[in-house]
Structure formats: structure tokens, C-alpha cells
């Protein structure tokens, strides 16, 4: 399978073999685009020529005859791997079509910020907890790290993910249609642990979380709902958080829309009522056809998407293809994923790849034999609460076209006779 995507800063041109010698040939200005799809064996990894890469990499013809590189302090990926986020000023998209398993590499975790990624010195950063508490307290990041720690693997999805797919097929690739979701192992201190230290007043019903970015982003969260799950995280996939993910401290509310998981967290205020901030009134509210808007729609609902074959890719030959994808639910574990290879006429159960964790991306796989004909591929998931991923038609019937957020509809990928995979709506 090839990728038809052409990031703007790259040009495709035929492989060159200049500078070849007995033992090595130069890959000057040339690297392989190693993709998950190349593992399908339908097409070898495609050669691309990044205009930006200026340094030559020596590649021995027989690596078993050439001593390799010595150790290094901080590893980098193979020079041939070029998988990238697609980025815009206030967001970047995870290349789901190129990833394997369920963990998103930290460097490829999607971004969404409302006035840039701040630079925060970890020793200067403080968390203030005040309002309806027995004792207002201030913590350094080092102090927070000394509390009993918890880790969990969880997805974070922006509620605007697939938001541009409500009215018509918009994105070309799954990165463009679904790239605002990622999964990491998050480590931090449970909010409950912190409140043992502080003590809550009985009137405390809502908690306002505020970031120290240039948007000073704030959300009000219902305390009783978040207490069992909320983590104050300082680590992601074993390392300190990436700056884009809230370094040095962020909130994680597993399964809730990404905007509630306040990054660069500096303040928690216990309140009786929500503060009705701009991000929970003007934004992150779901406009219904009758003109009312749903507010505090926190949970991300059952959703799945086939990541391979997916939009922008090219099937080379008829024959065996493993359909692969991700499914997730903000309400619990995924219990079933069905795949249709005939535009929803019939459905068959896909295999779920362990681990299957609550509020976490779950990898599914389905063996398919493409007969070379035109067809439409879809996936549909169900979670442990019984929620089934809706069709776009069902979603629109209830919520109309203007709610933008929380689009968890079934995605359709059309395969043409030529093997081209396109984003369509049926």
C-alpha cells in the first residue's frame, strides 16, 4: 500500500543511485518513508525526498560487515522513519495511519492549544489549590511527585475531532479526519490523594482548573464525577510530559473531552457552581437544531476508525489485506468491533488486540480479501455500557449539522477499482 498524501513541504521524485560505492551508497537528501502500511507487504516502503534534510546518511550495503554507531544519550528514531504530525498554529494531528499498537509516541501526540505552548521552568511552577478547602495549599512539582503515584494508559481526544466531517467528507487522510486523538501512559498523583492532604469543605461541588498558558485556559468540572478517575500528571510514556502536553503538570480525566484535561495546570479552585468560562459556554458546547446548546457534555462516546487501509492510501493488488483500526470509548472498555467491507450491508466481528483497557484506544484487526472491486470499508464499535457507535445519518437525525463537537459517527472509506482509498459519506 502506498501513500498518496503529499505533505506540502515534500516532493516525490524517483529514487536516485548517485554516489554508490562497493560498500555503501549515499542517501543524500533521501530517506525511506517507513509506514505501518508497508508491513502489509503490498508495496515496499516508498522513497521520498525531503527538501529539508540536508545531511547525508551512509547506509552500508551489508550492515553485518560494518561496525555500527556507538551509544547515545537520547535516542532518535531511524533516519528512514519520517512519520510526522500535520501541524497548524493551534493544533497538530496524530498520523494514525502510520502507527502500530495503541500507544502514541509522545512526539506524535496531537496538540491543541489556545494561545501557544508555554515555556515553563519546572522549579518555578506551582499548583495552587484553594476555594472551598480546609486549607489552601501550594505545591511544587517535586512535591507532587513525592505523593503516591499512579499510572494508567488512556486516550485523550479533542471533542472537535472529526468536527469538520459533519456536513461533508472533509479530510483526505485518517490523520485529517481523526488525528485529534492519542493514547499515552500517564503518571501522576490521584486527585483523591491530593484532597487527603487538603480537605474539602462540604459545599464544594465544582472544581475550576486553570492552566498557566497565555489563554489561562479554564474549565469547571463536577467534583463528584471526576474524583474517582482524575490524575494530576507529570509524566507521559515514562518521561516528563512533553511541553505540548502540559509540561510540567496537567490534569487527566480519562474518557473526557481533551479540553477538560487542563495542561500547564497551575490552579484548582473548589466552588459551589461552575464558573461558566468561555470554554464551557462559547466553545465546547453542542448546538442543537432547535437553537439550544448542550453544555458540559464531557464524555467522549464510542468511536472507531479503520486506520489501514484509510484515506489517501493505495491498494496495490487484490488479495489478502489485514484491516486495522482503533476503537475507544470514554465510558469504559470496548467490547466489540464490527467491520463491514460492503458499505454497511453486512458486518463481521473484528479481533480485539490485547490489552483492552477502559478509556483507552483498542486496536482491532480483521482479515479481508480484496477482490479488486469497488467497495466501502467501515468499522463500528460497542462499549461495556452497551453504547453502539452511530451512523452519521443517525447522529445528524438527533443533533443536526451544527453541533460540531463530539462527532463519533462511523467513518466510511471508499476503495475504488484502482485501489485508491477515499473519504466518503453514505
Amino acid at each position: 500500500m502506498k501513500n498518496n498524501e503529499q505533505p506540502a513541504d515534500r516532493k516525490d521524485s524517483p529514487p536516485q543511485s548517485t554516489g554508490q560505492s562497493r560498500s555503501e551508497f549515499s542517501l543524500n537528501r533521501r530517506t525511506f518513508l517507513a509506514t505501518a502500511s508497508s508491513a502489509l507487504g503490498i508495496a515496499a516502503a516508498q522513497m521520498v525526498f525531503p527538501a529539508t534534510s540536508a545531511t547525508a546518511t551512509s547506509v552500508p550495503n551489508d550492515p553485518s560487515r560494518t561496525p555500527g554507531k556507538t551509544s547515545s544519550a537520547y535516542g532518535t528514531r531511524a533516519v528512514f522513519v519520517e512519520t510526522q504530525r500535520q501541524f497548524f498554529s493551534t493544533r497538530s494531528l496524530t498520523p494514525l495511519q502510520h502507527l502500530s499498537g495503541i500507544i502514541t509516541p509522545s512526539a506524535l501526540h496531537f496538540e491543541r492549544h489556545h494561545n501557544g505552548v508555554p515555556v515553563i521552568h519546572p522549579l518555578q511552577h506551582r499548583l495552587l489549590v484553594h476555594g472551598l478547602v480546609s486549607q489552601p495549599m501550594i505545591f511544587t512539582v517535586e512535591e507532587l511527585k513525592r505523593f503516591p503515584a499512579q499510572s494508567r494508559i488512556a486516550f485523550i481526544e479533542c471533542s472537535g475531532n472529526s468536527g469538520k466531517e459533519w456536513k461533508e467528507p472533509n479530510g483526505t487522510t485518517v490523520q485529517e479526519t481523526h488525528g485529534l486523538t492519542s493514547t499515552s501512559e500517564w503518571t501522576g498523583v490521584a486527585l483523591t490523594t491530593l484532597f487527603q492532604e487538603i480537605g474539602l469543605k462540604p459545599e464544594a461541588q465544582w472544581i475550576l482548573a486553570e492552566g498557566s498558558d497565555a489563554a489561562a485556559l479554564t474549565r469547571s468540572l463536577p467534583l463528584a464525577s471526576i474524583l474517582p478517575h482524575a490524575l494530576l500528571c507529570y509524566a507521559q510514556n515514562g518521561e516528563p510530559l512533553r511541553p505540548e502536553q502540559g509540561y510540567p503538570l496537567r490534569l487527566l480525566i480519562p474518557g473526557w473531552e481533551g479540553n477538560t484535561c487542563i495542561k500547564w495546570l497551575r490552579r484548582l479552585k473548589l466552588m459551589t457552581h461552575p464558573a461558566m468560562t468561555r470554554e464551557e459556554t462559547s466553545k465546547y458546547t453542542d448546538l442543537m437544531p432547535d437553537g439550544t446548546a448542550r453544555q458540559f457534555t464531557f464524555e467522549m462516546e464510542t468511536k472507531s476508525v479503520i486506520t489501514s487501509p484509510s484515506g489517501g492510501q493505495q491498494l496495490e493488488n487484490p488479495g489478502f489485506i489485514e484491516i486495522r483500526g482503533l476503537a475507544w470509548s470514554g465510558r469504559g472498555r470496548i467490547t466489540q468491533v464490527d467491520v463491514s467491507t460492503d458499505g454497511g450491508e453486512s458486518w463481521q466481528t473484528a479481533e480485539l488486540q490485547e490489552p483492552v483497557l477502559p478509556m483507552c484506544h483498542t486496536r482491532f484487526r480483521f482479515s479481508w480479501k480484496w477482490n479488486g472491486g469497488e467497495t466501502i470499508l467501515q468499522s463500528r464499535c460497542q462499549d461495556e455500557t452497551g453504547d453502539v457507535q452511530p451512523t452519521l445519518t443517525d447522529l445528524i437525525a438527533v443533533r443536526g449539522f451544527n453541533s460540531f463537537y463530539h462527532n463519533n459517527a462511523i467513518q466510511s472509506w471508499k476503495v475504488t477499482k484502482e485501489g485508491q482509498v477515499n473519504n466518503v459519506q453514505i
Partner: protein, 193 residues
């Protein structure tokens, strides 16, 4: 709100705490005395809290002293806001701040401060913390009162003579103040199609 009952999502060690906390929230304060503390962190003083305590509630709690007029606001708007939001708050390129009242249930809803925002206090809170985008938290309270007054006046929500301050701002009723409802999901049948 979470419906993952039976799923032990909090790991061993704090399970009992989590259950206590969630079952009856009001008992938390009393029970928290029971648990040993970790001896981490330090008490926050009013001097620590004050500079960050900038959120404004719909009842006006948190509004600073000071006041502003529509006229003053117009000048601040032209200098600090118009380059991004357009000369009259309509042209953009950044979000339109004016108009759209009556469009929310149409095919082309225009969500603005005037047509969509349920509380005037949110406008103070947001501008005070996040605008102007290129210099957030640079406006003094009286400048924020003034520019809020200008935006509300241009939306036809207040009179040109209105003076905004901590007393008057929370009394303003926004056109869409009844427009928000709770989370009605799940809103689909659970039967697979």
C-alpha cells in the same frame, strides 16, 4: 456521570478513599481529617492566591473594583482589538463579536457574544485573562469593563449610557441566557443497526 460501575479504575491503596469520596461528597471534609497527611506542600497565603484568583462567576463574585463606559471602550477596542476582530467587531479575521441574534436555530448559526454567550460575566473573565491575544492580561480592570461595555452595547444588549462595574455587570441578562441545556447523551438506541 461515569457509568463504568464495577470497573476498579482506581488502583489498590486508594480504592477505599475513592469510594468514600464518591459515595457522599459532603462527608469528605469530615472524613479527610481521619486520613494521615503526607506533609507535602505549604499553606497558601492571600498574597499567593490573589494574583491568580481571576475567575469571575455569573453572580459577579471575583469582579474587581473599577468601572468603564461604552465611549472609553470604543477607544480601547479600536486600539487593541480591531486589528484582529475588525473595525466594528464583525469583519474579523478573528472571531466575530457582534450580531447573529436569532440565527442559532437556522442552517447558518452565527455564534457571537451577543447571540450565544449566556453570561456577561464570562466576557469580563475571558478578556481579562486572555485578550488581547498578543498581550494577554495586559488590560487593567477599568479597561476591561469599558471594552465589555462597548461589545455589549454594539450587540444591543445595554444602553450607550450604561456604566459597567462589579454591581451592574452581573445584572445584565444576555439574549441567550436560557439557551443552554444539560448533557442529554446517550441519545441513540443501543441496538446495532
Amino acid at each position: 456521570m461515569f457509568k463504568s460501575s464495577g470497573t476498579p479504575l482506581i488502583r489498590v491503596g486508594v480504592v477505599s478513599v475513592a469510594i468514600l469520596f464518591t459515595m457522599t461528597l459532603p462527608s469528605v471534609a469530615a472524613d479527610s481529617e481521619f486520613f494521615a497527611t503526607f506533609g507535602l506542600g505549604r499553606p497558601a497565603t492571600p498574597t499567593d492566591i490573589h494574583p491568580w484568583d481571576i475567575d469571575i462567576s455569573p453572580n459577579g463574585k471575583g469582579l474587581p473594583s473599577g468601572q468603564g463606559t461604552v465611549k472609553e471602550g470604543g477607544m480601547i477596542y479600536t486600539n487593541s482589538c480591531a486589528p484582529c476582530h475588525g473595525p466594528t467587531g464583525i469583519e474579523g479575521p478573528m472571531p466575530t463579536l457582534i450580531g447573529g441574534i436569532g440565527t442559532l436555530n437556522t442552517d447558518q448559526p452565527l455564534k457571537t457574544v451577543g447571540s450565544y454567550w449566556p453570561f456577561a460575566t464570562t466576557l469580563f473573565d475571558y478578556i481579562y485573562r486572555a485578550m488581547p491575544f498578543n498581550a494577554p492580561q495586559s488590560l487593567a480592570p477599568q479597561q476591561v469593563y469599558a471594552v465589555v461595555a462597548w461589545i455589549l452595547f454594539r450587540n444591543g444588549i445595554i444602553e450607550e449610557s450604561t456604566i459597567l462595574n462589579a454591581q451592574t455587570l452581573p445584572t445584565i441578562t444576555m439574549p441567550n441566557h436560557k439557551g443552554f441545556v444539560g448533557d442529554a447523551r446517550p441519545d441513540f438506541s443501543k441496538v446495532r443497526p
